[in-house]
Subunit: 478 residues, 2 copies
């Protein structure tokens, strides 16, 4: 990281934690240059970066001020707002797949403004550079490698994943690594390895809807544990549930949880690992957004705190590098062999060219440079979405402030039915993700998830304005 | 097909059906040229092709004669030799996966002579040409296509698969097509769509071992139906089983069945479809070897005889074009929507670059030319393997004579334990596929499957000589 990036990050952190409030002036270039002992040009570069990221704006004759939406103005939702969950957690048969599919199917039209999409825009990814890596890798791979690579995965890719894990403080061994068809296959394999039909699985509430679909498919029961919008799953309720119910596994996103964007602190992650050890509870960690952090340091995965070989770590390149390549992985610990055998019986192996291309890209493509740019873009677009919400939505909405990823979770006034809103918006060519698809009990009726992973333009701005009007119309009716 | 190829095929067919016997002279060039009204050069070209394919050989001063192994000398196994199956079919819990894995694991060493392998040599495939298609396809695919292609598959690939199906007499519609991660995912998805744990599934005996593993994984019971080495599954026993047992699905390979190489006649396929209609029995058709036929006409799939939308057709490009790309498909009929949803919950989509590359290759790469060469190579290697068996194995072995694919099934003398033979051969650096891995009841103890999909060389010849010695040693012991 360059000096100006480092300085920009320091200022950004002050804004994030609220030391610098909306509307406040930030240190002048001259002052900052003197006190930090850096050149004025470096400070300029840093401020320009912060401006591009939407954190500050230049005001004539008063220098730079913190933008109003950058902190403090929009209120975060409270976990207590999830209190429509049963007081005591119970195991629920999952029956939400039909709803999820009907929502996803109806968003397929490519002309729809994809605020409800689960994907960031593919234009944010280095697809051309990856394609060069593909050409090179295919030219260099001997035909004879096919059979070996089908049984154990591309060796270079395995090595690169290991190296990267080490550099972000994750800890796993080559022996426990299984390359998969994206993270979803990884999660499916883990869950099938740990459970039998009828078993109970603890999941977050709200949760990524695919986890609900997978539970439904495997005839597992969901124990929904509330998630705090800022720091993740409620450990007290989880522990209370573990004492009462025979829970076979826990599926969790400890960083940039989908849909809330919540991230557990290191301390909380450590506690969760202790809990898992105490109750011998295997944890399936879904860490697909790990690379999309806005801060200086990569968040540590749960697995790096696991001393008892109970965390199965799942991730992929789909959200950070190569959407559509369908390459993910599991660090499966003591379950790795069983997981791999299950894969050999179902899909055998992920596509070899995709593995080879990503392997070459990780070696030579400039992944870190791409990621820095991607993070910057996403953070700037988060600011833009927040600003639009502040401008167009009712003042009493509550909005999460994730420090990474590309989703905001918005709690609308109680009289807004998000499924109804979804239909109204879709009729206007705008998709949103309605709250009930994120819950086995179809809770969160007044919540929506919005995606800021698409290049901001006038159309998106317009669609948020329109969405605001639709939301306001609910309040007029009631 | 060129004139000389057509003429060569006519002669080959006469040899296959036994009209021309081993050791017999084939028509002289002059005679053939006159009676068929073709040039002597064309006849020469045809005979040269037949010689390369190992069907005839030149004898000094007597012209060409039919090679001894080309027909008639090696005796085919009888279905009655499968009589160690219970007289009445029963439903068996499947528990063979551990054995299969231990066999497959032990063959991993790339220096092993892969006679037990399930794959043909990757050097037989146009990997470089495919790689050019990949480069082109990736350059031409807009980034925006990623999301759409992930939900419904590459549109060009779908169209090309449809076109090819039409040209080989298969019949299905675009609506029922689901692109999958190879045929194994296709088969898994079909089976999961049709069954619940505990259900009965009719499978062939012997059967492709992965089908046994999948049954075991899904806790299904196997009803093993004997297969005739030449013309496939025994319809009488299947019908008898259907009257007694509540069978939910039938998994079948009607063409070049793995491991026997058996192919059902069109008439028999029609009968099976009638049976399926009478008992409302859904059939999962595994047709991965369809393109590897040695005759003039492509074999018709079972699905082309299906009038009641009960056949789910599964195939892939793994055995004929692109090993390791992991691209297959299902024509799922009325089950297609359910199958696709199941896929969206498990792997979402096969790798997009692999789909795009194959789509381009099918349009521009010369698939038919490649296939003609591949078929010719495989047929020639089948002849070579038969010759080696005739030369080195005991005279009382029985060998299948498949008209396509790359496997021979060999019934050894009864005192040979093929699992023991497997271990002995492996210690000498040779892999074979022992009979018991192809059966839920671990039958076929004196049978092995050999692969002729590898370029024939002195090492392979040597390994068969050694294998013959090992087989003979069993007889000396007993």
């Amino acid at each position: 990281m360059k000096l100006y990036e480092q300085f920009a990050e320091e200022i950004a952190e002050l804004i994030r934690v609220g030391t610098l409030q909306a509307g406040e002036k930030i240190p002048s270039v001259r002052y900052a240059s003197r006190t930090h002992n850096i050149s004025a040009a470096t400070v300029f570069q840093a401020y320009y970066l912060l401006e591009r990221r939407g954190l500050i704006e230049a005001r004539p004759r008063s220098g730079y001020i913190v933008r109003s939406h950058a902190n403090g103005v929009l209120v975060e939702p409270e976990q207590s707002n999830l209190a429509h969950l049963p007081q005591e957690t119970v195991a629920t048969d999952v029956d939400v797949s039909e709803l999820v599919f009907s929502v996803l199917d109806s968003m397929k039209d490519p002309s729809t403004i994809p605020l409800g999409s689960a994907f960031p825009s593919p234009t944010l990814f280095p697809l051309q550079r990856l394609s060069r890596s593909m050409t090179k890798a295919l030219r260099e791979t001997p035909a004879q490698a096919v059979v070996a690579d089908m049984t154990s995965g591309n060796a270079t890719l395995r090595r690169q994943i290991m190296l990267r894990a080490m550099s972000t403080g994750n800890k796993y061994t080559a022996e426990e690594l299984v390359i998969t068809n994206g993270a979803l296959e990884a999660l499916n394999l883990c869950l099938q390895t740990l459970t039998q039909p009828g078993d109970l699985v603890a999941i977050e509430s709200p949760a990524f809807y695919a986890s609900l679909q997978v539970l439904e498919r495997l005839k597992l029961k969901a124990v929904e544990i509330p998630v705090h919008p800022r720091d993740g799953i409620d450990l007290h309720i989880l522990e209370e549930s573990l004492t009462r119910l025979s829970i076979k596994a826990c599926w969790i996103m400890s960083t940039f949880q989908n849909p809330l964007g919540a991230s557990m602190s290191d301390e909380k992650k450590e506690k969760l690992c202790e809990l898992s050890a105490r109750y011998q509870l295997p944890i399936i960690e879904d860490d697909v957004y790990a690379e999309l952090y806005f801060g200086l340091q990569p968040p540590k995965p749960l697995k790096s705190f696991d001393k008892n070989d109970l965390v199965m770590y799942c991730s992929s390149f789909s959200k950070s590098l190569a959407p559509g390549y369908r390459i993910g992985w599991i660090a499966g610990g003591k379950f790795a062999k069983q997981i791999h055998r299950l894969q050999l019986m179902t899909t055998i192996s992920p596509s070899l060219p995709a593995q080879a291309a990503i392997a070459d890209y990780l070696q030579h493509g400039g992944y870190d440079r791409h990621l820095r740019k991607l993070r910057e873009t996403l953070e700037a677009q988060q600011q833009k979405l927040m600003l639009a919400i502040e401008r167009y939505f009712p003042t009493d909405v509550r909005v999460t402030k994730p420090k990474g990823g590309y989703f905001l979770w918005i709690e609308l006034p109680h009289d807004v039915d998000s499924l109804q809103l979804f239909r109204l918006a879709l009729a206007q060519g705008i998709s949103i993700a309605p709250g009930p698809i994120f819950s086995a009990s179809q809770s969160f009726k007044n919540c929506i998830r919005l995606n800021y992973g698409n290049i901001w333009d006038a159309k998106i701005e317009e669609s948020l304005k329109l969405l605001g009007k639709l939301i306001n119309s609910f309040q007029h009716v009631s």
